[in-house]
C-alpha cells in the first residue's frame, strides 16, 4: 500500500488538487442565483485577501504614473489654455442655446410623466473613482477602482462615465471595488433601442464585444441606432447612453435570433476615471430643476425675440410688396405720389416712372374702335341703331380720345337707315 502511494504520489496529488478545485467550482457556480451576482462569503474573503495584498502595489504604481502624467498634462495644457478657454466659451454658448431648446421639451415630458404616474429614477449622487487595475486577463473583463465600501459603494451600483455606462460594482471591499464591465461574458443590462423603442438584453460576448442576442430579425432595427438603458434591470437608471448598433447578423447557435453587435459609447478598454452612481430618486434633483427653469426662461426669451423679428420681417415684406405693386401700376403710383407728397420739395427730382405703353393707332377704325361708341347718356332706349361714328384717323402719336358728354360730342354723321338684320357694313 505504501509503495502504491509513493509510486503514484505525483498523479494522486494532481487528482486531489483537481478534485478539490472542481468541487469548489461547483459550489461557487451553484451559489449565485443570477448572472454577475456577487460571490459567497468565503470567496469574497479570498478575493478581499488577494486584493488587500495587491491593491497597495497597484495604487502606488498608479499614483506614480498618474502624478507624472498629470504634471506633464498640466504643462501641456497651460500652453494652450487661452485657445482652450476661447473654445470652451464658444461651446458653453452653443450648449446654452441647446439647453434652452431642449428645456421646454424636457419640462413638458416631465409634466406628462407626472400625469401618467410614470416612475423614473434620476441620478442624484455619484462617487468619482480612479481605475487602479484590471483582472490581467482577457477572459474576465473586470476593473479595480480606488474607492470601496468605506466610500459608500455597494454591489450592483451602476458605474458610468460622461459618455455612457461602463458596468456595475460586483464586489465592494473596504478601499477598493471590483467593477464588472459591460463586455464581460457574465455581464448583462436591460436596454432600449432609441428610435424603435424595442427592449432587449445586452450581454458581453467573446473578444470583448457587447451584443444583444434576444431579438429576432426586425427590418426596423438598423446599424447606427442608439441604445439606451431601459431601467428594467434595477441597476442602471433609465435613459443612460449605452452605445450604437454596429452590425446585425443571424445567430448560428440560436436560430431564429440575431446577434446585434453594439459599439459602446465609452471606450471600455481605456478607462481612467469612472463615476459610481450611489443614489437615485424619483423626482428631478434641485440642481436639474433649476437648470431646466433657467433653460425654459431662456427659451421663452428666445421665442419672444424670434416672434418680434418675424413680425418686423413680415412688415418689411408687406411694404416691399406694396411698393413693387405701386411701381407696376403707374397711375396709382402717380396718384399715391401726389397724395403722399403734397408738399414735396420741388427742388428734388421727382421719381420718374417708366413710360406707360400706349395703344397703336387704328389703321381701319370700326365700331369697336375706342372712342367710336357714343356715351351711354347719349343713347335713347328704343332708338334706331345709329351709324357708328369713327374717330378721325389718328396718328401713332395721338392718344385715344376720352369719351365726351353728349352735348360736347361731335355731331354724328347721319346714317342711311338700313333694314333690320342687316349689317351696317354689308353695303357691298
Amino acid at each position: 500500500m505504501e509503495s502504491f502511494f509513493s509510486r503514484f504520489k505525483n498523479v494522486l496529488v494532481l487528482v486531489v488538487v483537481l478534485l478539490v478545485q472542481t468541487i469548489g467550482l461547483a459550489i461557487q457556480v451553484r451559489r449565485p442565483a443570477e448572472i454577475g451576482a456577487p460571490d459567497g462569503k468565503k470567496v469574497t474573503l479570498l478575493r478581499a485577501a488577494v486584493m488587500g495584498a495587491l491593491a497597495p502595489i497597484e495604487k502606488l504604481v498608479h499614483g506614480v504614473g498618474y502624478n507624472f502624467r498629470s504634471t506633464w498634462a498640466n504643462y501641456i495644457d497651460l500652453r494652450n489654455t487661452r485657445q482652450q478657454n476661447h473654445d470652451l466659451k464658444d461651446e458653453v454658448a452653443r450648449l446654452r442655446l441647446e439647453q434652452a431648446q431642449l428645456a421646454e421639451d424636457a419640462l413638458q415630458g416631465h409634466r406628462l410623466q407626472t400625469l401618467l404616474n410614470f416612475q423614473r429614477n434620476y441620478v442624484t449622487s455619484t462617487v468619482a473613482a480612479q481605475v487602479i487595475g484590471t483582472s490581467g486577463t482577457d477572459q474576465s473583463r473586470v476593473l479595480y477602482i480606488d474607492k470601496g465600501s468605506a466610500d459608500g459603494l455597494k454591489p450592483d451600483q451602476a458605474v458610468m462615465t460622461p459618455d455612457g455606462i461602463v458596468g456595475k460594482i460586483r464586489d465592494a471591499f473596504p478601499h477598493t471595488a471590483q467593477v464588472l464591465l459591460l463586455n464581460d461574458s457574465s455581464s448583462g443590462a436591460g436596454v432600449l433601442l432609441a428610435s424603435t423603442r424595442i427592449r432587449a438584453i445586452l450581454r458581453g460576448g467573446q473578444g470583448g464585444h457587447v451584443v444583444i442576442t434576444n431579438l429576432t430579425p426586425d427590418s426596423r432595427i438598423k446599424p447606427g441606432e442608439k441604445v439606451l438603458t431601459s431601467g428594467g434591470d434595477q441597476v442602471y437608471p433609465r435613459g443612460l447612453n449605452v452605445g450604437t448598433i454596429e452590425s446585425i447578423a443571424p445567430d448560428p447557435d440560436h436560430q431564429p435570433y440575431t446577434i446585434i453587435q453594439v459599439k459602446p459609447s465609452t471606450n471600455l478598454f481605456q478607462l481612467e476615471e469612472v463615476l459610481v452612481i450611489t443614489g437615485t430618486q424619483g423626482d428631478l434633483p434641485p440642481i436639474a430643476q433649476k437648470d431646466l427653469a433657467q433653460g425654459a426662461a431662456a427659451a421663452k426669451e428666445m421665442a419672444a425675440a424670434k416672434a418680434a423679428a418675424d413680425e418686423a420681417a413680415a412688415e418689411a415684406a408687406a411694404q416691399s410688396a406694396a411698393q413693387i405693386i405701386a411701381e407696376k401700376l403707374p397711375s396709382v403710383h402717380e396718384d399715391e405720389q401726389t397724395q403722399a407728397q403734397p408738399g414735396a420739395d420741388p427742388t428734388k427730382a421727382p421719381i420718374t416712372s417708366p413710360p406707360v405703353p400706349r395703344p397703336t393707332p387704328t389703321l381701319h377704325p370700326d365700331r369697336y374702335t375706342p372712342g367710336a361708341t357714343p356715351p351711354a347718356s347719349a343713347l335713347k332706349p328704343g332708338a334706331e341703331h345709329s351709324v357708328t361714328t369713327y374717330p378721325p384717323g389718328a396718328s401713332p402719336a395721338s392718344p385715344p380720345r376720352p369719351s365726351q358728354p353728349a352735348d360736347q360730342a361731335p355731331a354724328a354723321p347721319t346714317q342711311k337707315p338700313q333694314p333690320k338684320g342687316e349689317s351696317p357694313n354689308t353695303d357691298n
Binding site: 505525483n10 488538487v17 472542481t22 487595475g133 474576465s140
Partner: protein
C-alpha cells in the same frame, strides 16, 4: 566511474529557489500582468503567470511541486478575475504537472525547447480553459484558433527573456 543513471541525472539537474523567490516572483508576475493590461489592453493577451508556472515546474522537475505551484499561481490569478475561483487553478495545475514531467526527460535549457514548450503549453492552457468554461461552467464559448495561436506565439516570445531573467534566481548547486 559511476555511470549517470536516469534518476541521478534528474537529481543533478534539479534546481531549487529561495523561499523569497518562490513567493515573490509569482506575485510580481501577477502584478506586472495587471499593470501591463491596464497600460494597454492588448497586453491582456499575455500570460506572465503561466510562463512563471512553467519555469518553476521545469526547473524543479518535480510533478508534485509543479502541480502545487501551478495551482497556487492559478488561484491567485482567479482571485483577481470575476470568474469562479479554480478555473485558472485547474488549468495551471495540469500544466505544472506536465511541464515538470517533461522537464525530467528533456533538456529544457535550450532556447528552442523553451520556445516550443511555451507555445504548446499556452495552447494547452487555452484548451483547458475552454473546456472548463464550456463543460463545467456551461458557457457558450467558441475556440478562436487564430487568436489562441497568436497568444501562444506572443507568450513564447515573451518567455525567452523571462526565462533568462529567472535563470539568475536559481540557487547555486
Amino acid at each position: 566511474m559511476p555511470s549517470l543513471s536516469y534518476t541521478s541525472r534528474r537529481e543533478l539537474e534539479e534546481h531549487s529557489f529561495s523561499p523569497a523567490v518562490t513567493i515573490l516572483v509569482p506575485i510580481a508576475a501577477i502584478v506586472l500582468q495587471v499593470l501591463l493590461s491596464r497600460l494597454y489592453w492588448r497586453f491582456s493577451m499575455l500570460d506572465l503567470p503561466l510562463i512563471v508556472a512553467i519555469f518553476f515546474a521545469v526547473s524543479r522537475r518535480s510533478p508534485m511541486v509543479g502541480t502545487l505551484t501551478g495551482a497556487a499561481i492559478g488561484l491567485l490569478q482567479d482571485a483577481l478575475t470575476g470568474r469562479p475561483i479554480g478555473v485558472n487553478g485547474m488549468a495551471k495545475s495540469v500544466i505544472g504537472y506536465i511541464a515538470a514531467s517533461i522537464g525530467i526527460q528533456v533538456d529544457v535549457d535550450s532556447l528552442t525547447t523553451r520556445v516550443l514548450m511555451n507555445f504548446v503549453f499556452s495552447l494547452l492552457n487555452s484548451l483547458i480553459l475552454f473546456l472548463i468554461g464550456r463543460r463545467l461552467l456551461g458557457q457558450t464559448l467558441h475556440l478562436q484558433w487564430i487568436q489562441e495561436l497568436v497568444r501562444a506565439l506572443a507568450n513564447s516570445i515573451v518567455a525567452i527573456p523571462v526565462f533568462l531573467l529567472l535563470d539568475t534566481t536559481k540557487r547555486p548547486e
